[in-house]
Amino acid sequence: MDEILNKAGADQVGPPLWLLAELSYRCPLHCAFCYNPVDYSQVGTELDTAGWLSVLSQAREMGAVQLGLSGGEPLVRPDLEEIVAHARSLGFYINLLTSGVGLTPERLDALKEAGVDHIQLSFQDSTRELNDFLSNTRTFELKQRVARMIKTAGYPMVMNCVMHRYNLPHIGQIIDMAVEMGAEYLELANTQYYGWALLNRDLLLPTAKQLHDAEAIVEQKRRQIGSACQLLFVVPDYFEGRPKRCMNGWGNVFMVVTPDGRALPCHAARDIPGLVFPDVREETLRHIWYDSPLFNAYRGTDWMREPCRSCPEKEKDLGGCRCQALMLTGDARNADPVCSLSPHHHLIDDAIASAASMQAAEGGCGDGPARVVARDPRVQPVEAPIQFRTNPPRHLSR
């Protein structure tokens, strides 16, 4: 992402080079760190095939070239192959972001034929998988089969594992597991706090020590494994002291279209109250990108308040994440509170401290499989129940 064109500012709004198509919020999984919306009451019916084909054509015509197919779980859509084929005919580079649940060799062949360029396989519940890996049982075998399928189809194995308090201590074993599955790339992505992850933040946030320990293990594994598997460890911005250049800037290169056809500048914006999300069924993508109030709201740097306004680093990180600023400080024009220069930075320190004391009360995060098995979605801890992602109501489906 860091190599995508660096735009100078709102003076010249470039095209949406990256389109993320969230094909459905439906998903067979219930991850507690999912960034999908926690409130489905504002979500409408899913876009039909024709709707998606039109979105793709319009986006490509504007210059979009990277396409992410995601959700929820994109495989729940029976028209996925048709969507892929259309994207391929337009010249998109197609990334399928999937848990692999529901993938068969036949479907994989069809998707390859249709034109998927890259498949990113996620770990849905690394604690369960880790358990199964250690005990050589069912879920791990299923994931191994999917991994083998993907490699047999001629794709490199690109895996993604969301990291949080419960699996950071096991990062070494997770890496071993990925390498055993033949992964050529493994992204260890520390969870960001949006959607369900924000709801569960107290239970998911690690301590700084857990992060440093994990990072050290990643370094060690890198030396051991060499080029066989490339490891990428993404540190959570809560611990960085400086914000991320979120989405490379609001309405700069990135556009998301949600399952019900709303266009957003990022996938986290859905949970933000009071925003008007343009509808692709009612407006053209071109109009939405260039002219809508939503997409123009935080382009460039003129909207900034202090300390961002006079900050020498403002062009570097663009003040961080607008969604995070809004959700945590109440105003999207504030600095992202993860920045140590933000007057609201204490909110982040407080969150980290609160999570740490919750962890201490629990007696640590789990030292091995025995403790980790207890984290079963059917068994809610009494002190602070973790909230597992739910699905939208059936009547919204296609």
Partner: protein
């Protein structure tokens, strides 16, 4: 560091694809969730990284096509850079 010899026959990493992008008026290198904008000489060299051209052959072709001489050092330097970034493989 990959040692580049005149016989080295590079290919693009199978996860990568190069194409012309009208909206950006340039060639780009596409890879999982990423993109690199290529200048004309980078694009020209990468076009020959198809598994069928040795370094020696691509330099000869480029010299003829662009009416230049002695580009081997520049080409090798670019290829080293490209290998290092994971764009190419042998």
């Amino acid at each position: 560091m990959t040692a580049i010899t005149p016989d080295t026959t590079p290919t693009l990493n199978p996860l990568f694809r190069m194409q012309w992008e009208e909206a950006q008026q340039s060639h780009v290198l596409l890879y999982p969730e990423g993109m690199v904008k290529l200048n004309d000489s980078a694009a020209a060299i990468l076009q020959y990284c198809d598994g069928r051209h040795t370094v020696e052959q691509m330099c000869a072709e480029l010299e003829q096509r662009f009416k230049v001489t002695d580009i081997t050092d520049d080409v090798v330097q670019f290829l080293e850079h490209a290998f290092e970034r994971g764009w190419l493989q042998v």
